[in-house]
Symmetry: C2
Subunit: 316 residues, 2 copies
Amino acid sequence: MAKEDFTEYKLLSKIARLYYIDDLNQQKIAEKLNISRTKVSRSISRAKQLNIVSININSPADEFTELESTLEKVFDLKECLIVPWSENDTEIYRNMAVLVAGLFDRILADGDTLGVGWGATLKNISAYIEPLRKINIQTVPLLGGLGRSGIEVNTNAVASIIAEKYGGTSYAMHSPAVLDSRQARRIMEKDSSVAEIFKMAAGINTALIGLSDIGQQSTMIKTGNFSIEDFKYLESIGIAGDVNLIFINEEGQPVANDLDSRLLRLPADKLKNVKNIIGAAYGASKIKVLLGAMKGNLINILVTDEKTAGQLIKQA
Amino acid sequence: MAKEDFTEYKLLSKIARLYYIDDLNQQKIAEKLNISRTKVSRSISRAKQLNIVSININSPADEFTELESTLEKVFDLKECLIVPWSENDTEIYRNMAVLVAGLFDRILADGDTLGVGWGATLKNISAYIEPLRKINIQTVPLLGGLGRSGIEVNTNAVASIIAEKYGGTSYAMHSPAVLDSRQARRIMEKDSSVAEIFKMAAGINTALIGLSDIGQQSTMIKTGNFSIEDFKYLESIGIAGDVNLIFINEEGQPVANDLDSRLLRLPADKLKNVKNIIGAAYGASKIKVLLGAMKGNLINILVTDEKTAGQLIKQA
DNA sequence: GCATTATATGAAAAAAAATTCATTTTTTAT
DNA sequence: ATAAAAAATGAATTTTTTTTCATATAATGC
């Protein structure tokens, strides 16, 4: 190392130490070392640039913030929240609920309306979520009901549980999500009680939605809303899965299909207008639909587990 | 870790990462996370406090900045500069010269007057120093000459070498430092050429001075200015050594003694008024006098080697 | 349950830091 | 050596950050 470089590095180290370790402000450092505060400011920048100063983030709760940060950048997300992987699904749901509670605490305010989707993940998050404080929110379903007795995944239930816990008000959509015919859907859509919910849904700032794949294990098959043939058809036209019952391909584009006209849910263009669209999903089967949902901007906040997060990065 | 704590730590980690790693400003973080910038600011402070953020200083030239920082605090120094220990004295002197050059670059400005002391260390620093830039300084000796032909430690020489290298002007004190009698000293002191130098010396903002012990190997014995008996006497009255020919005890107090009245040098009270008093010395024999000089505020900037620095800390 | 104390909050003010810009200094090329 | 280009500098401006202060929220004791 040349003498001048040594002298420069020595000074930069000294300034960095005084600033970061001894907590002197730049004015005081300037006075102490007999240089201008401008030079101190520039020296600190330079010391950072030269990696004389290295800053690390570490905390018991920091396990995934780096991974989260990476996901946020790669998929251009507003935010990403990751829970540890576990054999135990309940463990995952509970941890997701904790993170979503932290998120809600920041992004929801009195008077806000939260839109909710459907699915096992949402049902469980709503079951385990514990508000950090009461918030007077309104909750509305973003699609009709998909549950049948015994296989309860009703959006109305999710909406009401969350609203109750937060001390807010929930609204229900009194219609199935999948109608028998285009005509039936049109009629329900115009029904004043349903129309009112969709009007509310159009004005939400936050949505918490589920994503599903079109595998044969899908809840949508179990609920009887769709048949295996329906799913085979969807697969044949390149569908990767659905986001709030919007069928999309891997690129995140909604693909026109025979089923669409019978579905009662907030459409893609309206959903994309929502400021915070929280998509919660995990597991290998959800990779494709998650990738699509992020690419197509159908979600901008991702809640998932570490395994899924890792796979998403790989396939980005 | 309790759930609320986890949530708090998670948020703090996230904020810290966005701020320190991703270089977002607090405003942007606040917007992203939907919190106030005040909270972001406070969160960053808290993250630092909780050691979620750890900052390290590292550079090839940083070997001793931590030790320097410790010395500065322990001995309330304006600054401390440490060179690596070496078997080779020349190596130490050369390195000291580099550091002193860096220091001069900061603390000396055109028109400033630098006072210089005496000793092997100063002589060598002046020999090896290479200015980082030209500075139009004036240099004045802070004591009379101690050298004899063959054993040159003359302050006039030190002053003139430094001034020449920096492109400044040097002034000489045409008198020995140790006179034969009190009377002789009084006469010299009043001599206009000497008086003028002391007048200049009283107005300096920076002094570079040497420290010596009163061991039998001392240069002062070799120069013939003092006898072994003189030193034994000084030792008997508790003298630890001298700073610019001011004899002090280990507490840094100048001790009245029979020799004082024959010495021609800037006295302690005048020296203490100087803004930057750079003391350069190393080696086991200098520990006591260094401790005294720092305690008594006869120096406020220390230049030494790592070994001596370590011993000083131990005996602090 | 209610009152009291402690803690947390955000808007505004103050302080600190980064950037801009005009100038000087240093380096490089001739 | 001198001129031209590049880099460094510090005062002033702008931006960012911290602190203050008044208010609101939550925790604790009675």
